[in-house]
Symmetry: C2
Amino acid sequence: MRSEFDFIQNIKRKFGLGRIGDDCAVLPKDSKTDLVVTADMLIEDIDFRLEWTTPKFLGQKALAVSLSDIAAMGGEPKWAMLSFGVPKKLWKTGFPDKFFDGYHRLSEKLKIEIVGGDVSRTPDKLVIDSIVAGEVPKGHAVLRSGAKPGDGIFVTGPLGGAAAGLVLLERGLRYSPTITSWQKTLLLQQLQPLPSPLGVELRKLGATAMIDLSDGLSSDLAHLCAASGVGAQISRENIPIERKISGLKFTDDEKFRLALNGGEDFELLFTVTERHASRLNKLPVTRIGRITADAGRIEILDDGVLKALPASGFRHF
Amino acid sequence: MRSEFDFIQNIKRKFGLGRIGDDCAVLPKDSKTDLVVTADMLIEDIDFRLEWTTPKFLGQKALAVSLSDIAAMGGEPKWAMLSFGVPKKLWKTGFPDKFFDGYHRLSEKLKIEIVGGDVSRTPDKLVIDSIVAGEVPKGHAVLRSGAKPGDGIFVTGPLGGAAAGLVLLERGLRYSPTITSWQKTLLLQQLQPLPSPLGVELRKLGATAMIDLSDGLSSDLAHLCAASGVGAQISRENIPIERKISGLKFTDDEKFRLALNGGEDFELLFTVTERHASRLNKLPVTRIGRITADAGRIEILDDGVLKALPASGFRHF
């Protein structure tokens, strides 16, 4: 079946929609500033389950996923809109207020103004569309398309934690004050993710291309390489895996697959030139490989062998 | 049950969200311009039925409902984002492409750039969130809150046509080339509405307050009066009713209720001072009453008797 990525590429080509396809659209604001703007849908029973989360966690996550897109452009988030469609049975409970409390708490912490949105009714499932706008100095938004052969490839944090949290939820664990510390860490990475705080700094330090890790490293690296017309070689041993995953008693291969394909870590994947790589020394980032000129070929060095790396992250269709 | 309007008023007060509650949020863009931005959800089986419409009509309507909000601020629409969640059974058909064709056709006609959005999967129902941004000269967005006692109250066109189209759909009529002309007019007002082209001109001519007629005249007038802290008296005999409704063989009272409470006409309701009312002479607008100082009291003169006018338009909850 055609993926949503194919659909988007198709309408982009067919109608000449040059601004779509990055983490955010970049639009002129004033003589010094561009606006970066994003929208993200979260759908009940596709992107979350109500019995796995709390209204406050979900409200916070709704904002966080869009903030992650702003971070991936190197933008400072400024304002947000929230559209949500609520079934009647949920409307009658305290759900909408608690959900909005969670959404508002994160917006307040990060000084993002909530400016509008829409409230609707749905027949059955909760649906959320989160819209956030941010600012970047004119012409300096970090696109997916700026990676060049020879650039180093980096990630901002350990990976696989959100996917491991999902495994715990699927096994029946729920968040409560009594669960162990490693379980709490993993569940919160899934239920209450925070956007990376490094987006703006990485832009200033010269990131050439950037994308947020929402679908999963293997897929998001493929998106970045496709947009840049390049290839990539990464090294398995360099990919940082969330340590708390060891609580799951998974094999090394299983842990590795969570980090590679799991998605929703909301860390940043970015590239910098060799010349600028040393600027990153003091940041909590990890080099995982380098960009090659071999457009579309994405490979992973695993136990001394270079293998093709298929994009196996999340897709809707 | 608490309405969505109550929920919005509550979070507005509780969190001090000064920019929410109008047709669009107004945000500073540059030294001469403000940005006006809106989001509108359309949910299958709440706001539309797939068996009543076509993918192209629906795509166009998704954009039109948001353009109507931009018009209500006196704004020029500039760019748009579309989030849509599609069930797998619909994704496999040609639906997404035809829907986007309809959306794109209207955007192209009105020179609005499509800049982004999101594509998601849903378990069962189609959901759409339409986001549009426009521009107004700084400080000149026409708010709901600017009406003053003595201002004249006007509407931009005949009312009730979209609601009458809904009646025909409920009776089993479907759009086809062979239906009669009056039926076609009414169905298209429901299925393929167009935003009023008068928003910018009315701003320039001095509209003091404006709102689009999406919920229905009785409700939208109540919203405008609440935001302005005023009351209103309108006159039944002056309310323009879509002429084609006569095809329905409704009584005068039935026709009148469609015009008063029907919603989705996407005409504009606005106010102007007495001094500026004469400027409107050449426009296709109709004076229906005047603003009073009696905050919250909305009355209608009907057959020589002044009666309270309850807000009886569309509400989700």
